[in-house]
C-alpha cells in the first residue's frame, strides 16, 4: 500500500488548518497561501522568496509567520555589511524562521553570506563557524523598485526553493478588504509537531512508476521552456525538482489522494522555476516569459494518467 488512509486524512486536516489560518491573515492571494502552506509543511528547511508590489501583504504574512515560529528578522539596505548579518545570527541557535526584508538590496558581498547560510545552514565569522538546525527563510522583495537595487546573482536565486509572487486582487477581494471590517489575525495556530508529522508522512509516501513518469515528463516540459530560440532554464534543475517532488506529494495528499496527477504539479510551476531563469531575460521580456510558462502548464495538464 502506498499510504494508509488515516495518514492522508491527517495531512488534509493539518493543511486545511494552515490555510484557514492564512485566510484570517490575507484576503484573496489563494496561490500565495497554497504555496506558503505547502512550502512550510513539506520541508522544515524551505527557502521562500515573496515578491510583489508594495502594499500587497508581504509584511503582513511575515508578521503572522513570526508569531508562529521562533524567528529573526532583518531588513537589508544597500549599505548593509555582511558583518551585521553575521552578528545578528550567530547566537540564534533555536532559529526556526529567518525573515529578510528587501532582499534585492543586498550587495554582492552580502549575497555571499546568504549563499553559505542558505546552502549549509551556517555562517563563518573569521575562524568561527556557527551552525544552525533546519530553519525557514522567508525573504521579501519589491518588484517595482529600481533605485538602490542590485542584481542578485543567479546562484542566490537558485538557493530559494520557491519564489511566490503576489498578484493583484480581484474586484470582490478589493471590495472585501476595503469595506468589510477585516483585520488580520496573527495568532499562533501552527504547531511544529504538526509540521514534523506531515513531513514524515510525505517522506513515507511511496510513489509508483506512474507517479514518477508523470513527474519526469513534467520536469522535461519545464526544462524545454524557451524564448527566442533559447532555453530559459539552465542545467538539470536538480535542486528545484527535489523540492518539487515534496510539494507535489503534499499537494496530492492534501487533495485526499495517494497518487499524483498533473494538476498537482501545475500549481507550483511558477513558484518553483520562474526565479531560476536568467534574470536579464526575465526582466527585459517578462511578459513573453510568462506566456511561455503558461504554455508549459497547458502541456503538463495534457499529460494523461492511466488507471492503476
Amino acid at each position: 500500500m502506498k499510504l494508509e488512509k488515516q495518514k492522508i486524512e491527517i495531512v488534509m486536516q493539518i493543511y486545511d488548518k494552515i490555510i484557514a489560518s492564512l485566510d484570517e491573515v490575507l484576503i484573496g492571494q489563494k496561490e500565495v497561501k497554497r504555496s506558503v502552506a505547502s512550502s512550510i509543511l513539506c520541508d522544515t528547511n524551505s527557502r521562500i522568496l515573496l515578491t510583489g508590489d508594495p502594499g500587497m501583504g508581504k509584511t503582513t504574512l511575515n508578521k503572522f509567520l513570526a508569531n508562529n515560529f521562533h524567528s529573526k528578522k532583518m531588513a537589508i539596505f544597500f549599505d548593509t555589511l555582511p558583518s551585521e548579518i553575521q552578528e545578528l545570527l550567530k547566537d540564534c541557535k533555536n532559529l526556526e524562521l529567518l525573515q529578510i526584508e528587501e532582499f534585492n538590496r543586498a550587495s554582492e558581498r552580502l549575497q555571499n553570506v546568504f549563499i553559505e547560510l542558505f546552502a549549509d545552514n551556517q555562517i563563518t565569522i573569521g575562524k568561527n563557524t556557527y551552525e544552525f538546525g533546519d530553519f525557514y527563510v522567508v525573504a521579501t522583495q519589491n518588484n517595482s523598485e529600481t533605485a538602490g537595487i542590485f542584481n542578485v546573482s543567479q546562484a542566490i536565486y537558485d538557493r530559494f526553493d520557491v519564489s511566490i509572487s503576489y498578484k493583484n486582487l480581484k474586484e470582490e477581494e478589493s471590495r472585501e478588504l476595503l469595506f468589510s471590517n477585516f483585520t488580520p489575525s496573527y495568532k499562533k495556530s501552527i504547531e511544529k509537531e504538526e509540521i514534523v508529522t506531515v513531513k514524515n508522512i510525505i517522506d513515507s509516501f511511496n510513489i509508483d512508476n506512474i507517479d514518477i513518469d508523470i513527474m519526469m515528463n513534467s520536469f522535461k516540459i519545464v526544462k524545454e521552456i524557451s524564448l527566442n530560440n533559447r532555453n530559459l532554464l539552465k542545467g538539470d534543475l536538480i535542486r528545484a525538482n527535489k523540492f518539487a517532488i515534496k510539494l507535489i506529494k503534499l499537494s496530492a495528499l492534501a487533495s485526499g489522494r495517494d497518487y499524483i496527477l498533473p494538476s498537482d504539479i501545475v500549481d507550483f510551476i511558477d513558484c518553483l522555476y520562474m526565479h531560476r531563469i536568467d534574470q536579464s531575460i526575465a526582466s527585459i521580456e517578462e511578459d513573453d516569459v510568462k506566456k511561455q510558462f503558461e504554455v508549459a502548464k497547458e502541456k503538463v495538464l495534457d499529460l494523461k494518467r492511466p488507471k492503476r
Binding site: F78, G148, E172, R257, D288, L301
Partner: protein, 926 residues
C-alpha cells in the same frame, strides 16, 4: 481567459470565416459569377445545388460580422503585442477555401509597417517569432521594403519573395505595381532578426573604439561579437569591466574622515557611489548619471574628451563603448505608422470609401468552377442512381407498397427537378425578354408576328421567324401551312384508337391501335386543294425495317382529324441532304403500291436525319362548311384513312357493363336514366387539372378500388384531365372510341400537346375535356403556386419564419451570454449539492483507482479542480466513464450526481473563466 485559449479561439474563428479581407470582400460582392457560367450549369442539370450554394453564400455573406473577425484579430494582436494581420494565404488553401471540411485553413502572420526604427522593429519581430513558435504558425510574411531599410539585398537573396497579389489574391484596381513580400519560416525569421541586431550595432564603430581600448578582455569580446552577434554577452562583459575600472581607485583618504572606501556600481546609464569608512559606516551614498560621474555633458562631449590625454582615458573609452551599447544614442525620431495592411482596408470599409483592392478574377473563377463541377457531378450521379434504381425496380419487382412508395418518391424528385428547371428557365426567359422589349403592346405584336409562318408560293419558302419552333418540350411534328387560310388547318391529330380496354389496380389500360397508311388511298393532287404538310421524324431502325420488308409499311401516326382531310403524298427525306428523298404520290401508289426499289433502299440506308413529310388537303369541289361547335363536330361525315380504320374496328366493340355506367352517373351526381348528352355536359362542366387525382386527396387509395369504385371516384372528381374525361365517355358509350393523339393549333406539335378524346365510327369528334385547353398548363402552375402560398398563409408559415429569423438573430447576438448565465447557474447548483465530493471521488476512483478521500470545496475550488484534473479527458473517455458509472447499482444518488458532473465537464473546461466571472459578479460583500 488564458492566452492560449484566446489565441486558439480566435484563430479558429478566422480559419472558419476567412481572414479580414476575405470577409470584407465577400460583403462587397466583388467575386465573379456571370451569366454564361449559370447557363453552363443548366446544361449540367446541377443548377439546383449550385443555386442553393449561391443563395447560401449570399446569406452567409450578409450575416458575416466583419467586426467580429476584426475583434478576433485584435485579440490575437493583444497577445502578441504587435500590430499584425492574421492572413490566410490563398495559394496554400486553394482547395479548402469555401469548404466546410474539417481540414483547417493554414494561416500566416503578416507584418508590414512603415517608418519604424530598427530597435522597435527587432523587438516586434521577436515577439512575432515567439508567438509563432508557441502556437505553431509556420509562415511569417514581412514587407520587403521595411527590411531593405536596414538590410541589403544580399542578406535576403535566398528568401522567398512574392507579389502580395499572388499570395493573398488581392490586387489594386488601378494595377499599380504590386509590393513584394517575403514569406519566411520561423528559422528564417530568427535569422533575419539576428542580422538586424548585428546591423543595429555599427561594427566598424565598435572596432574603432575597441582598438583604442587597452583592456584585452574587451578587445576579445568585441571581436567575438563581430562574429557571433551576441550583444548581451558583450554588454555584460563591458559593464563588469567598467565597474572594475571605476572601483580600481576605491580606497582613498578623505580630509575629514580619513581612510574611506568608495564602491561604484553601474546600472544602465547611472552609477551609484557608496562611500564607507574603515569601520563600515556609510559616509555618503548617491546616484548620478554616468555622464556626470565622468564629468561630461553628453555623448558627443564624451566622444571628444576620450581622445584627450587624461588619467582616466581608459575609463572614458570603455564608457563610450558601454553607453553606445546601451543605445542611449537615438537617431532621428521615428514615428511608427501603426496601421497594418488590413487595418487600412478595414478603415476604408468602415468609412464607406471605395476599396482600392479587389479579389483577382482567376481566384473567384477557380472557386466557382470547382464548385460547379462538383455540384454537376453530384447531381448527375444522384439523378442517375435514382433513375436506374427505379427502372431496375420497375422491371424486376412486383408491384407492392414499397415499390410504389419508391416510385412515388422518384416521381416526386423528378417532378421537383423538372419544375425547378422550368421555373428557372421561365425566369431567365422572362428577364431576357423583358430586357429586349420596349412596351407591352409591341410585345403582343411581336409574338403574333413570330407565330405566323406563311408559305410563299412565288419563292417556295416560308416567311416569318422560325423562333416559334423553339420549345421546351420534345417536338413531335411540324405543320407547314401551304395555304393562307389558317381556319382550314386541323386541330386534332390522331395517333391511334382503342377498341379494347381493361381495368387494373386504379388504372384503365387502353390497347391502342394505329392503322397503317393505305397508299391506295392517296389522292391525286389535281383533285385536292393542298392545305398543309406534316413533318415528323422517323427512326433509322424503321427505315431498316422498310428495307428488309421491301415495302413501305408506315403507321398512320398523326392523321389530321376534324375535316375530310385527304392524304396527297408522302416523302421520306433526309433533312441534311434534300437530294436523298423517296417520294410516293397517287400515281406511284397506283402503279406499284408501297413497294420499294433497290436503289431506293440504298438511299434509305444512307439517310442521316430521316423525316416523313405527308401532304394533306381537302377535296376541291366541295364547299368547306363548318360550324363553331362547343364540344363535338357534326355535319359532314369525315372521310380519310383514319376514319375508315375506325369504321372497320367498330363492329368488334363490346358494350360496357351497366354497373359501370351507373357508377359513372352516380359519381357525376346524375339520375340513373341520364342521357348521354347529360353525361357529356356534366363531364365538360368540371374544372381542368393536370393532376386531378392528386388534387382530390382521396381517402382511399385508387389501387385498392375495384372497377366500379374507380369509375365512381373518377366521375366524382372536381377536376379532370383529357384522358380521364375520354375514359368516362368511353365507358358511358363504347361506340365513342378512346382516341389518343395530339391537339394543337400552332405549327408545332410537342409532347405538351398530347391529348385524348373520343370518336364515333363516323369520325365525329367528341371532346368533353373540361374548359382550359392549351393554356391550362399555366393555370395549373399558377394554381400550384397559389395553393402553396395559400397553404402557407393558412398555416401561419410566414409568422413562424419571422419568429425563426428573429430567434436566429437573437441567438447570434446574445446566445452565448444567455447560455453562460443559464449554464453557470446550473453548474453552481450542482456543485453546491450535498455530498458532491463523493461524486467527485467516484469519478476519480473509476479514472485512476487508488485511494480517494472526499474533500469539501467551494464552488470556485471545484471549478478549478475540474478544469485542471479533467481537462485532458477526450469525448470517448467521458462516454466510457459514464458507462462505467452506470454499472454501479449502489449509491444511486452519488452516481447520478457523478454522471451529471461528467456531462458538465466539457463545458466547464472550455468556459471556466466565464463561469467564474459570472458567478463572482453576483457575489457582493455585505
Amino acid at each position: 481567459m488564458k492566452n492560449i485559449d484566446i489565441v486558439r479561439e480566435n484563430i479558429d474563428k478566422i480559419q472558419k470565416n476567412g481572414d479580414l479581407y476575405d470577409v470584407i470582400i465577400s460583403k462587397e460582392n466583388l467575386s465573379l459569377k456571370n451569366y454564361n457560367l449559370i447557363k453552363g450549369n443548366i446544361f449540367w442539370f446541377s443548377r439546383i445545388l449550385y443555386g442553393a450554394t449561391l443563395i447560401y453564400d449570399k446569406i452567409k455573406s450578409h450575416f458575416i460580422n466583419i467586426d467580429e473577425i476584426k475583434e478576433a484579430q485584435d485579440k490575437i494582436r493583444e497577445v502578441v503585442g504587435v500590430n499584425i494581420d492574421i492572413v490566410i494565404p490563398k495559394q496554400d488553401n486553394m482547395f479548402t477555401m469555401n469548404n466546410k471540411s474539417k481540414k483547417r485553413k493554414k494561416i500566416a502572420i503578416f507584418y508590414k509597417v512603415e517608418n519604424i526604427d530598427i530597435q522597435k522593429y527587432i523587438s516586434n519581430l521577436k515577439k512575432i517569432a515567439n508567438f509563432c513558435s508557441t502556437y505553431n504558425i509556420k509562415n511569417i510574411i514581412l514587407g520587403e521594403k521595411e527590411i531593405l531599410n536596414f538590410l541589403c539585398d544580399e542578406d535576403i537573396k535566398n528568401r522567398k519573395k512574392i507579389d502580395i497579389s499572388i499570395l493573398l489574391e488581392i490586387k489594386t484596381k488601378e494595377n499599380h505595381k504590386e509590393e513584394k513580400i517575403l514569406v519566411l519560416t520561423k528559422e528564417e525569421l530568427y535569422d533575419i532578426i539576428q542580422k538586424l541586431e548585428a546591423v543595429e550595432i555599427e561594427k566598424d564603430f565598435l572596432r574603432k573604439i575597441a582598438n583604442e581600448i587597452k583592456d584585452p578582455i574587451i578587445k576579445k569580446v568585441v571581436e567575438e561579437f563581430n562574429k557571433n552577434n551576441d550583444l548581451n554577452k558583450l554588454k555584460k562583459i563591458v559593464v563588469s569591466r567598467l565597474e572594475l575600472y571605476l572601483n580600481s581607485k576605491g580606497i582613498y583618504k578623505d580630509k575629514e574622515v580619513g581612510k574611506v572606501i568608495e564602491i561604484v556600481t553601474v546600472k544602465e546609464q547611472y552609477v551609484k557611489v557608496l562611500t564607507k569608512d574603515t569601520k563600515g559606516n556609510t559616509i555618503s551614498s548617491f546616484i548620478l548619471s554616468l555622464y556626470n560621474y565622468l564629468e561630461v555633458s553628453n555623448y558627443k562631449n564624451l566622444l571628444e574628451k576620450r581622445n584627450k590625454k587624461c588619467d582616466n582615458k581608459e575609463i572614458m573609452q570603455i564608457a563610450t563603448l558601454y553607453l553606445y551599447l546601451c543605445n542611449k544614442i537615438k537617431k532621428e525620431n521615428f514615428q511608427e505608422n501603426s496601421e497594418s495592411f488590413y487595418d487600412r482596408i478595414y478603415l476604408d470599409y468602415k468609412g464607406n470609401k471605395q476599396n482600392p483592392y479587389m479579389r483577382s478574377k482567376s481566384w473567384s473563377l477557380l472557386l466557382n468552377l470547382k464548385r460547379m463541377v462538383i455540384m454537376a457531378y453530384c447531381t448527375h450521379a444522384i439523378i442517375f442512381c435514382i433513375k436506374t434504381s427505379i427502372e431496375h425496380l420497375d422491371s424486376t419487382l412486383e408491384e407492392n407498397d414499397k415499390v410504389t412508395f419508391i416510385k412515388k418518391a422518384y416521381d416526386k424528385v423528378v417532378t421537383i427537378y423538372q419544375n425547378a428547371f422550368d421555373l428557372e428557365w421561365d425566369i431567365l426567359d422572362a428577364i431576357k425578354n423583358l430586357l429586349k422589349r420596349k412596351n407591352w403592346s409591341e410585345t403582343i405584336l411581336l409574338e403574333t408576328e413570330e407565330n405566323s409562318l406563311i408559305y410563299d408560293e412565288n419563292t417556295n419558302s416560308y416567311t416569318g421567324d422560325k423562333k416559334s419552333t423553339e420549345t421546351n418540350y420534345n417536338t413531335i411534328a411540324t405543320i407547314y401551312p401551304l395555304c393562307n387560310d389558317k381556319e382550314l388547318l386541323p386541330e386534332y391529330y390522331a395517333v391511334g384508337y382503342s377498341k379494347e380496354s381493361y381495368y387494373e389496380k386504379g388504372k384503365m389500360n387502353y390497347k391502342i391501335t394505329t392503322p397503317l397508311i393505305s397508299f391506295a388511298d392517296l389522292k391525286d393532287k389535281e383533285e385536292v386543294e393542298t392545305l398543309f404538310e406534316i413533318s415528323y421524324e422517323i427512326s433509322k431502325d424503321d427505315l431498316k425495317k422498310i428495307v428488309e420488308e421491301d415495302h413501305i409499311n408506315l403507321l398512320q401516326t398523326l392523321y389530321p382529324i376534324g375535316k375530310d382531310y385527304l392524304m396527297i403524298d408522302i416523302k421520306i427525306i433526309d433533312v441534311e441532304n434534300y437530294n436523298q428523298c423517296i417520294y410516293i404520290n397517287h400515281n406511284r401508289a397506283s402503279d406499284i403500291g408501297n413497294k420499294i426499289f433497290p436503289p431506293e433502299k440504298e438511299v434509305l440506308l444512307q439517310m442521316k436525319k430521316p423525316k416523313i413529310k405527308c401532304t394533306y388537303g381537302l377535296k376541291k369541289e366541295e364547299e368547306i362548311v363548318y360550324e363553331d361547335k362547343i364540344h363535338f363536330y357534326e355535319g359532314e361525315t369525315n372521310k380519310g384513312m383514319f376514319v375508315e380504320a375506325l369504321k372497320k374496328a367498330s363492329p368488334d366493340i363490346k358494350d360496357s357493363k351497366k354497373k359501370i355506367k351507373d357508377a359513372i352517373k352516380e359519381g357525376l351526381k346524375l339520375e340513373k336514366d341520364a342521357s348521354l348528352e347529360e353525361i357529356l355536359d356534366a363531364i365538360q362542366n368540371k374544372h381542368y387539372s393536370k393532376t386531378p387525382i392528386k388534387d382530390a386527396n382521396l381517402s382511399k387509395d385508387m389501387k385498392k378500388m375495384n372497377e366500379e369504385e374507380y369509375f365512381k371516384a373518377v366521375a366524382s372528381l372536381d377536376s379532370l384531365i383529357c384522358n380521364l374525361s375520354a375514359s368516362l365517355v368511353n365507358e358511358s358509350d363504347k361506340n365513342l372510341m378512346y382516341i389518343t393523339g395530339y391537339k394543337g393549333n400552332s405549327f408545332l406539335l410537342t409532347e405538351e400537346d398530347a391529348h385524348a378524346w373520343n370518336m364515333n365510327p363516323n369520325g365525329t369528334i367528341i371532346d368533353v375535356t373540361p374548359k382550359g385547353n392549351l393554356e391550362q398548363g399555366e393555370e395549373t402552375k399558377e394554381n400550384i403556386e397559389e395553393s402553396i402560398i395559400t397553404w402557407g398563409i393558412k398555416n401561419h408559415i410566414h409568422i413562424y419564419t419571422i419568429i425563426i429569423l428573429i430567434l436566429f438573430v437573437l441567438n447570434k447576438k446574445y446566445g452565448k451570454e444567455i447560455t453562460i448565465t443559464i449554464k453557470s447557474h446550473k453548474i453552481k447548483k450542482l456543485l453546491e449539492t450535498e455530498e458532491i465530493e463523493k461524486a467527485y471521488v467516484k469519478i476519480n476512483e473509476i479514472l485512476y483507482g487508488g485511494t480517494n478521500i472526499p474533500r469539501k470545496k467551494t464552488v470556485y475550488e471545484w471549478l478549478d479542480s475540474i478544469q485542471k484534473e479533467f481537462t485532458n479527458l477526450e469525448k470517448e473517455k467521458l462516454k466510457e466513464l459514464k458507462r462505467e458509472l452506470k454499472t454501479y447499482t449502489n449509491e444511486k444518488e452519488t452516481i447520478e450526481k457523478a454522471i451529471k458532473l461528467v456531462n458538465e465537464i466539457p463545458y466547464i473546461s472550455e468556459n471556466n473563466k466565464e463561469i467564474q466571472k459570472k458567478l463572482s459578479s453576483k457575489k457582493r460583500i455585505v
